[in-house]
């Protein structure tokens, strides 16, 4: 952990809900390279506050890469240019002294801007509400050991379940699609026996909801997988497509 200080120029998107937004330029000075990107924004905000200006609004909470709150386009990349990183886990050692950075909110039709870098991602909750769960009531579960699951399937389900719901996949997609997000949930349950009873209805309902909420279609750009801080694979989209077709052809009893 070498100690080094750098200076940056930031072009930051400032916007109030319902109004037009614009970029404003700020200096980030004397930034320790061990600081995280959000800690760098904290320093900028402290200075803005002290000089009588309103700090930049940005969403954040756990600051350890798991809650999915944070996210912004940094130089055009969701969560910045590092692989498999959330914005809070991007560190200033990834930048050079004198860098000029553009920082703007996730852009997608389904994610309206609330303020500055904060967008409304509640559409993702609506997708989950339409079927992203196993409908089991508390108290009605069988003894856990009666459901053995092949390790490979459990591991693949976990790979899919690692999604943090940050919305970077949507923001990175040229169509603003939520296919990676939705497919991760569909995949998790399609791989597990617990998901079987609702398998067909789940994929159908979730895809319908996704379409209704203004998310775009998938045209196999794979930008989502590059943007995903948790490395969710596009093979889950392929599985969603298979599940979707199967749900259409499944005979009604």
């Amino acid at each position: 952990m070498a100690d080094k200080k750098i200076n940056l120029t930031l072009n930051v998107w400032r916007q109030q809900a319902g109004q037009e937004g614009a970029f404003e330029t700020y200096k980030a000075e004397n930034i320790d390279t061990n600081a995280s990107f959000l800690e760098m924004l904290d320093v900028v905000n402290e200075n803005l506050t002290c000089s009588g200006k309103e700090p930049i609004a940005f969403e954040h909470d756990c600051r350890e890469g798991i809650c999915g709150s944070c996210g912004a386009l940094v130089a055009g990349m969701t969560h910045g240019s590092h692989d498999r990183t959330t914005l809070c886990q991007l560190h200033m050692r990834s930048f050079e002294d004198g860098d000029e950075l553009t920082i703007e909110p996730f852009r997608a039709d389904a994610f309206p801007v609330i303020k500055d870098l904060i967008v409304d991602r509640s559409a993702l909750d609506e997708i989950v509400a339409s079927g992203g769960y196993v409908s089991v009531k508390t108290g009605s579960a069988p003894e856990a050991s009666t459901i053995p699951i092949e390790k490979n399937f459990a591991d693949s389900a976990m790979d899919a379940a690692a999604c943090i719901g940050c919305g970077a996949c949507v923001a990175a997609c040229p169509n603003g699609a939520a296919m990676l997000f939705t497919s991760a949930k569909v995949s998790q349950f399609a791989l597990l026996p617990q998901g079987a009873p609702e398998r067909a209805s789940r994929v159908k309902e979730m895809v319908d909801t996704m379409d209704k909420l203004g998310f775009g279609n998938c045209s196999n750009e794979y930008e989502c997988a590059v943007a995903c801080p948790k490395g969710i694979d596009v093979k889950h989209i392929a599985r969603l497509n298979r599940e979707f077709i199967a749900s259409r052809t499944r005979k009604k009893k």
């Binding site: 002290c50 909470d61 890469g65 798991i66 303020k115 991602r121 579960a141």
Partner: protein, 638 residues
């Protein structure tokens, strides 16, 4: 006047919960929909409680300050969740989990509550598996277990290093299921700013819409606080940035006693502090202590790199001092020992406030792949933050504030001293005593939410007389006015220092005087400093912007204002409890070997503090603790 009645059911320990479930009053299914329950917080406890009560038929209103319920900080729990399944056949049982938890809590928890926790632990695993949570599995397809500090059996279920995330997403899924049916009405970006009591009962809450600044009144038949702990009173902690004590503190100001506030947990394995810009500390799961060995150089101020220090010049101090538990001693011991070696000058790293957590032996024994499979994501996270590769060089770790065992006082039904007001999960004090064992927080949050509260809330609601009270009642009017005035006052100061600046100062004061080691002198000094800091805050804080839109500085200021009041109760509690126990170490009370010295004669009680006004001395009430099943003894992990 606060009265403490724990309402512990009669009968043998192992039958109390079963008898109680039969004894509580029920609300018949068609009447349940007539009752409304307000649940604040959507972490493990809040989401599971809201979903389960909605399944039962109650009308549920759920509140979170986040943009979605899935962000709650339960999501960051890494290691796992305990249950007494005994799948590994290593001698575990409900009684052993109960015993370990009471002992691990250093005999400051309520036996009956802990026994119930151990009993329902197995149902939690059943339920979570049925939800499709991808727990780790053996090759044969069965659930895998690992061991955790403070236990000699493997009873921890896990989903890689993301157990909290997976369990929370399970509860969140259940919540979304009920939202889609219309049985839960979800309020996101909505923060509690006061609790409303009418005729001594909790009847509602006041909230602020964090996007529009609108202040709203919500009425209900019961109010449930699932609002987490108060670790952020220290500014730097492993808690998420938004975690706060405001809901619990506002409840305390409305008559709910606050229990054991001095019981805070300092987690032994966190990434050390490295700069004054630092906003939070990151935990490295305790599960790492399964395979990592903790050591410092035998020589003081040894500046050599870890690799240059030969084996015989390393002090594996936990293995040396506690041969039977070794690196897996409970958290309080592991933390205190790290502080001791660092204070004595053996610490490593640029600040000297760190010890090594070394995986080289485990990598030699099991191979890099096996270690990667177990801890890959944790190693990656460590590498991201520090730029060091733990496969090559040992991790550097240091203790950090992590969890708060104290919380709102609750009886066996999880009801606070205000009728109709419940506290669940980390927000209450009930199950962990003076020290929480690893993988027990997830267990307790889900036990309270899925299995305990939905059974005990009936008992209160069944007796409730219907009335015509609505949100125009003067109590709502007054609570809204008080909360709104406070926000206006914060905005009006327009001083010179930022909210974070005050929060950092408060945090440092608390860490120095009420952190890993506490003394009468230090605590008294802090009690003198605190009111000055509070006055400085109210005369010099700078909260930019207005109250009519999204204003993060205002949110933060409102929370820090509460921390500045709450901290006083914490200091008073730490001063009152002149014994050492669990996470509470009083320098005046230690054995000749420097171990914590408990004083059961004088302190086998729960302290419950009654609020009397800002700057006024709170009143201490005591709930005596009785140990029938787990005989009191000085803890030994040697």
């Amino acid at each position: 006047m606060v009265e403490l009645n724990a309402n512990i059911p009669e009968g043998p320990m192992a039958e109390k919960w079963t008898r109680h479930k039969f004894g509580v009053k029920l609300v018949n299914p068609s009447n349940k929909r007539k009752y409304k329950v307000l649940v604040v917080g959507t972490g493990l406890a809040g989401a599971s409680a809201a979903a389960t009560m909605a399944e039962l038929g109650y009308q549920v209103e759920s509140f979170t300050y986040s943009d979605t319920p899935r962000r709650a900080h339960s999501i960051a729990a890494q290691g796992g969740i305990n249950a007494a399944k005994n799948y590994p056949n290593d001698g575990d049982s409900v009684h052993r989990l109960f015993y370990d938890t009471v002992k691990g809590g250093d005999y400051r928890s309520r036996e009956a509550n802990v026994h119930r926790l151990a009993e329902v632990s197995n149902q939690i695993i059943d339920h979570c598996v049925a939800q499709g949570i991808p727990f780790a599995r053996e090759y044969g397809g069965n659930l895998a277990n690992r061991s955790f500090g403070g236990a000699q059996v493997s009873r921890t279920f896990y989903a890689r290093g993301q157990t909290g995330q997976q369990l929370l997403l399970g509860a969140y899924g259940a919540l979304q299921k009920e939202i889609s049916k219309g049985t839960v009405n979800m309020h996101t970006r909505c923060e509690l700013i006061d609790v409303v009591t009418i005729d001594g009962r909790a009847r509602g809450i006041i909230t602020r819409n964090l996007v529009t600044g609108e202040i709203d009144r919500h009425i209900g038949d019961a109010v449930v606080l699932a609002t987490g702990g108060y670790g952020n009173v220290f500014y730097l902690s492993t808690n998420a940035m938004n975690c706060n004590a405001s809901a619990a503190w506002r409840a305390c100001k409305k008559g709910a006693a606050f229990a054991n506030p001095c019981f805070t947990q300092i987690h032994p394995t966190c990434i050390p502090v490295h700069g004054d810009y630092q906003s939070k500390l990151t935990l490295m799961s305790e599960s790492l202590r399964n395979d990592g060995r903790i050591w410092v150089p035998k020589k003081k101020d040894d500046k050599r790199l870890a690799a240059e220090i030969p084996e015989d010049e390393r002090d594996y101090y936990l293995e040396r001092k506690y041969p039977s538990f070794g690196n897996l001693v409970p958290r309080d011991l592991a933390s205190r020992n790290a502080k001791e070696v660092c204070d004595a000058g053996y610490g490593v790293g640029p600040t000297g406030d760190a010890v090594y957590l070394d995986f080289s032996e485990a990598i030699d024994r099991l191979g890099r792949d096996a270690i990667e499979a177990r801890y890959g994501n944790l190693f990656e996270m460590y590498n991201r933050i520090t730029d060091d590769d733990p496969y090559e060089t040992p991790m550097m770790i240091y203790p950090a504030v992590h969890y708060t065992m104290g919380g709102l006082w609750v009886d066996y039904n999880l009801m606070t001293t205000v009728p109709g007001l419940y506290a669940i999960g980390e927000a209450n004090f009930s199950d962990h005593g003076a020290n929480r064992l690893g993988a027990s927080a997830l267990m307790q949050g889900l036990a309270d939410g899925y299995f305990v509260l939905p059974n005990t809330v009936n008992n209160y609601l069944a007796d409730l007389k219907r009335d015509s009270i609505n949100i125009s009642h003067p109590a709502f009017e007054e609570a809204e006015q008080t909360a709104a005035n406070k926000l206006e006052k914060l905005l009006a100061v327009k001083g010179t220092r930022t909210v974070d600046d005050f929060h950092r100062e408060l945090g440092l004061l608390m860490w120095n005087e009420c952190g890993m080691a506490r003394s009468e002198v230090g605590l008294k000094k802090a009690l003198e400093e605190l009111p000055k800091l509070r006055d400085a805050f109210w005369s010099d804080v700078n909260v930019p912007g207005s109250g009519d839109d999204l204003n993060q500085a205002l949110e933060k200021a409102n929370r820090v204002a509460d921390f500045l009041e709450f901290a006083e109760v914490m200091l008073r509690d730490a001063l009152d409890r002149s014994e050492s126990c669990g996470g509470h170490f009083r320098l005046e009370s230690q054995t000749e070997e420097g171990e914590a010295l408990r004083d059961d004669e004088s302190f086998a009680y729960v302290s419950a503090w009654e609020y009397k006004g800002v700057g006024e001395e709170p009143v201490l009430h005591k709930e005596p603790l009785f140990f029938e099943e787990v005989p009191l003894s000085q803890r030994s992990y040697k």
